[in-house]
Amino acid sequence: MEYTIARHDKHCEVRIQGSFTFSDNAKFRELLNSTVNDTLHSLTINLSKLEFIDSAALGMLLLLNDAASQKNIRITLAAATGQIKKMLVLSKFEELFNIED
């Protein structure tokens, strides 16, 4: 998994690409520490370049959501397609996150 972070004042957009799986835990912690802070209001995770996600990575997104919620940061999952979109639907993530096409 690779990612880039773009900051726009109190909003942050993260673009993830490649595969996001259980072995990406260290990068996930790095991503979380780089984005979730007291100055942020909203975080968009752009999934358009992500090709594969597994259950462990879905769990990491939930942990990210928990951490963000504690700081009143709103998370949006954007532009998911293919396998990613299917996994978000199967996991009923629309009940947990803002989902944008």
Partner: protein, 219 residues
């Protein structure tokens, strides 16, 4: 660079189902038997040891196959993508079927590694427990015993779909797959079997929970 050895070399070097050497791929022609009988299977024609990555397509073979490797190699390899790409070369596979095969395989292999062979029991429900979870995994992967335990994947091409099985040598999964759901929608763990269930036509455990058998449609 891949190279081949005759199957007899493997039998002689690994009697009594000892854990296989690292990075081993072998294939059977025709009927796939139980792993315990595989080494004596008369139609098992190819034994291939790959020392530089796993490239199934480099082996000129188009049939059912068995792929067996150490837990360490399985952990480090992108097996589900490799196998799905190989399968798509053998049969017409819809995008949905490719997604289902790769997802189900990935989750099953991960379960075989983590919960099966490495025997991890830590439940991830927070960032702190996630750290502990991965510390346990790394500790077990540092053990010669744990990292050498075999993971076996069988893929059989049927008329309308695949029969896939993933086996480990751990203590065995006891939970009923029909109840395979996370504790709650917000639970970060326990989602793997639920995804497998959604991506397969059917699934069931055998060998006292050490083997997960899945049927996946081509369409």
């Amino acid at each position: 660079m891949a190279y081949r050895l005759p199957l007899t070399s493997f039998i002689q070097s690994t009697p009594n189902l000892a854990p296989p050497p690292r990075e081993v791929v072998y294939f059977t022609a025709g009927c796939i038997t139980e792993i315990g009988k595989l080494f004596q299977h008369p139609t098992c024609t190819t034994f291939c040891e790959l020392s530089d990555g796993l490239h199934i397509s480099s082996v000129d073979y188009a049939s059912d196959f068995v792929l067996c490797m150490s837990t360490e190699t399985a952990y480090e390899s992108n097996l589900s993508e490799i196998i799905t790409r190989y399968a798509a070369q053998q049969v017409p596979l819809s995008d949905t079927a490719a997604i289902n095969l790769r997802t189900a395989l990935h989750e099953a292999i991960t379960n075989a590694i983590i919960w099966g062979n490495l025997g991890i029991r830590t439940i991830v429900d927070s960032l702190e427990s996630m750290e502990t979870f991965y510390q346990h995994i790394n500790a077990r992967l540092g053990s010669e015993i744990y990292k050498s335990l075999p993971v076996t994947i069988k893929l059989r091409f049927q008329k309308h779909g695949f029969n896939v099985s993933v086996s480990d040598v751990g203590k065995g999964f006891q939970k009923n797959p029909g109840n395979a759901k996370p504790k709650s929608l917000f639970s970060p763990a326990g989602r793997g079997l639920q995804l497998i269930e959604a991506c397969t036509h059917s699934m069931h455990h055998s060998d006292q929970g050490r083997t997960l058998n899945m049927q996946i449609s081509y369409t």
